[in-house]
Symmetry: C2
Subunit: 437 residues, 2 copies
């Protein structure tokens, strides 16, 4: 039986997923990120360091183990993201890594939450992070949206809208405005999409000690967005001044301007983005797909001044995480992606009789040795049935042994003489083709 | 801290692992196996169907859950192989699959065993299986070693010795010899490598009711191996006759002869191979690497007449499983593999000054757009330091912006004029190269 929250794709969807993961990986590698995989488990105390995620953790226990012994300090749990394991890996191996260390990590993560639409208990994430000792130059913040833009431009998905903000802008602005509990303001403004401006305004007055005018200013800030550096003037026009605000604006302008040159229109400064519950300290990123805005972000991240620390050592970082399962779940749900066939197979070698199987195997070998995925028909059924075997799976070509051999494109019906040591399919038929529907 | 039994590779080893997995996957796809991934968890009762593996299972429980409720019928455990989940997937989705169904599956599995040398608690497996309804033609048994031979020929590993046997040969022979508890004989003969022929012989007499002559005949059978069909005559020369033995010999000859043509010398019939504890019913496979025989099999599998069943439906199958972590653990342990660099990066663009970063980013973009993995130097340090940044990571090229730009192969010191829109590295430098050391 299916288990709620643990999605399983059928092979055609898995082909699409692999294609998407391959594309993401290729883009990450083009930017020089090195591959890393960490174990699926972490000690429970590592997983609970941040406290607030305790309810999401799956604990492990061996079947033969005393149930009472589970949950102790040495208990193991499945990781619920790739950031906590990465931070642990960096401190554990700092002496063996070259810094700045750029790594990508594409793995399953698990969260023991109640499943609901679009939420999984097991899902695939694709992360990149750059981490350094002591300080990490700011230019890496500006690189993240470039990578993301290249990832999404290579995928058969709707156009992304990569939204960037900077915590320093918000905090500096709130502080300059005279509001001291900036975390509470941030958390409240983060609810804008869910509860609307009136309620946010009321909550700011109730819970963050804001006057009506201060609440209005916070909402005005959150209303600003632009695909170029012009947002900075609009913020300054609100009349608030603070050194942290200036620093944040300067940083955010750098990110947006670098992005505007590389990927015009894809990246916008959006001053409502808060990523409320995370540990980011500067730049933050979110990504929505056009037409799928109501489903929220499919890729997010940010800068953390203290990704990891070990004794007196500090490791600042900046990174993003693509929610691969989330992205595909949304697109599969709308039937938005197609694949040209259900198997890697490009050619089926038809089998005239069971006695000829060795000959057919030789043809298949010759084709495979030149990179053409080939199967021999399962049995010496009538050719019509063998062609239907290919058709049902979307395999484009059937090869008929003979003197000479012929190969038939079963979509067009075209049949031509062919030699297994030289014939090539059109490039587009070599592998299953994934496209937007 | 490292956790015993949960290996983590450093990035250079992870590059090797990815390279190996990519190669395995490419070979599987050339044979038309479709990709599948199943969830990491199965209901406990699924995992315990075979009974004997109960001690190996990791159970899951949510941190906030009542510990007493764990372990019930609806408890979830991590899969300990890829066969159990695949069998469950097939029966669950039989109506939506095309049979014969060929799938590959490359995933982590978990076993809660005491870790020991070469044994992991978390490890990567790469499986292929062909499964059909009711009956599965025998020729698929002959295909498995061909796939394996192609996998190993494409990997930078020592030459494999793919050993094949057939349960029907052993069972028929023991029966024809007059021994009725053939399972016990099989289990005992399977200990040959561990305890030697004298003790096996004594055990056969003690526990399987064999006479000394019968025990000697069993050992004689186990001593036969050949890279061609000649083993059949040697078996017949032992003077035992039984219809199941004849059937098994005929099958085994077909497998060995097909293999001998495709991959001369790699596949041998070895009549001591038993795969004692598994549910195989015909052909069985094991694979050892030359020089690593003492570590046992890195890839095994076989034919099961009843991979899965659902009501009156039966699904016979044949498959093999490559122990990727086990294979790499062995080879890493002997330092037998090398990789040409520690990062995907092929080119570092040197940064003359921080003001020139945008220009350097443009050069990097131009190179990436043509598939060349590129990083811009982290800071405008002296060029000597920037070159060392590349050197330490094994990155072969440093690009110097100028009029004109130049690119330097830092291994040879050769520096030439270059244009980012046309320059290409030698093919062998495009990606990290993995090789036997």
């Amino acid at each position: 039986m299916p288990i709620s929250g643990f999605p399983e794709w059928m092979p055609p969807q898995r082909i699409i997923e692999q294609n998407v993961v391959d594309t993401i990986r290729r883009t990450f590698e083009l930017y020089g990120f090195a591959p890393l995989e960490t174990r699926a488990v972490e000690p429970l105390d590592q997983l609970l360091r941040k406290g607030e995620t305790s309810k999401e953790v799956y604990l492990l226990r061996r079947l033969q183990e005393d149930p009472a012994s589970g949950g102790g300090d040495d208990a193991l749990g499945l990781h619920f993201d790739l950031t906590v394991p990465f931070a642990r890996f960096v401190t554990e191996n700092a002496g063996r890594l070259h810094f700045p260390f750029r790594r990508y990590q594409i793995q399953k993560v698990w969260r023991g939450e109640r499943p609901q639409e679009g939420r999984y208990r097991e899902f695939l994430q694709a992360d990149i992070d750059v981490v350094d000792r002591d300080t990490l130059p700011f230019h890496y913040d500006a690189e993240m949206p470039l990578v993301l833009a290249d990832v999404f431009r290579s995928l058969p998905v709707p156009e992304p809208r990569i939204q960037v903000n900077n915590r320093k802008v918000c905090e500096g602005f709130y502080r300059g405005l005279g509001l001291s509990d900036t975390d509470q303001v941030l958390r409240t403004v983060d609810k804008l999409d869910k509860i609307g401006p009136e309620k946010v305004s009321a909550l700011l007055v109730e819970t963050a000690g804001a006057s009506d005018a201060q609440a209005a200013a916070c909402l005005a800030l959150a209303g600003i967005s632009a695909a170029d550096g012009s947002f900075a003037d609009r913020v300054r026009a609100l009349g608030v001044s603070d050194p942290l605000l200036d620093e944040g604006l300067e940083e955010l302008v750098r990110v947006v301007e670098a992005s505007a040159e590389h990927a015009p229109g894809l990246v916008v400064a959006d001053l409502r983005i808060a990523r409320g519950l995370d540990y980011y300290t500067g730049t933050v990123y979110e990504t929505q797909l056009r037409g799928y805005e109501r489903f929220g972000s499919v890729c997010s991240g940010g800068r953390y001044e203290n990704l990891a620390s070990s004794g007196s050592e500090r490791f600042p970082g900046v990174g993003i995480s693509v929610g691969v399962s989330r992205l595909l779940g949304l697109l599969f749900g709308q039937d938005a992606l197609s694949v040209s066939r259900q198997v890697p197979t490009c050619v089926v070698v038809a089998l005239p009789s069971e006695e000829r199987r060795r000959d057919c195997d030789r043809i298949a070998s010759a084709l495979r040795s030149r990179g053409i995925a080939t199967e021999v028909a399962p049995s010496a059924a009538k050719f019509g049935k063998q062609i239907r075997f290919a058709e049902r799976r979307g395999i484009p070509f059937v090869w008929f042994p003979g003197e000479p051999d012929t190969v038939k494109d079963i979509r067009s019906g075209d049949q031509v003489e062919a030699d297994a040591s030289t014939w090539l399919p059109p490039d587009g038929d070599l592998a299953p083709a994934v496209a937007a529907r």
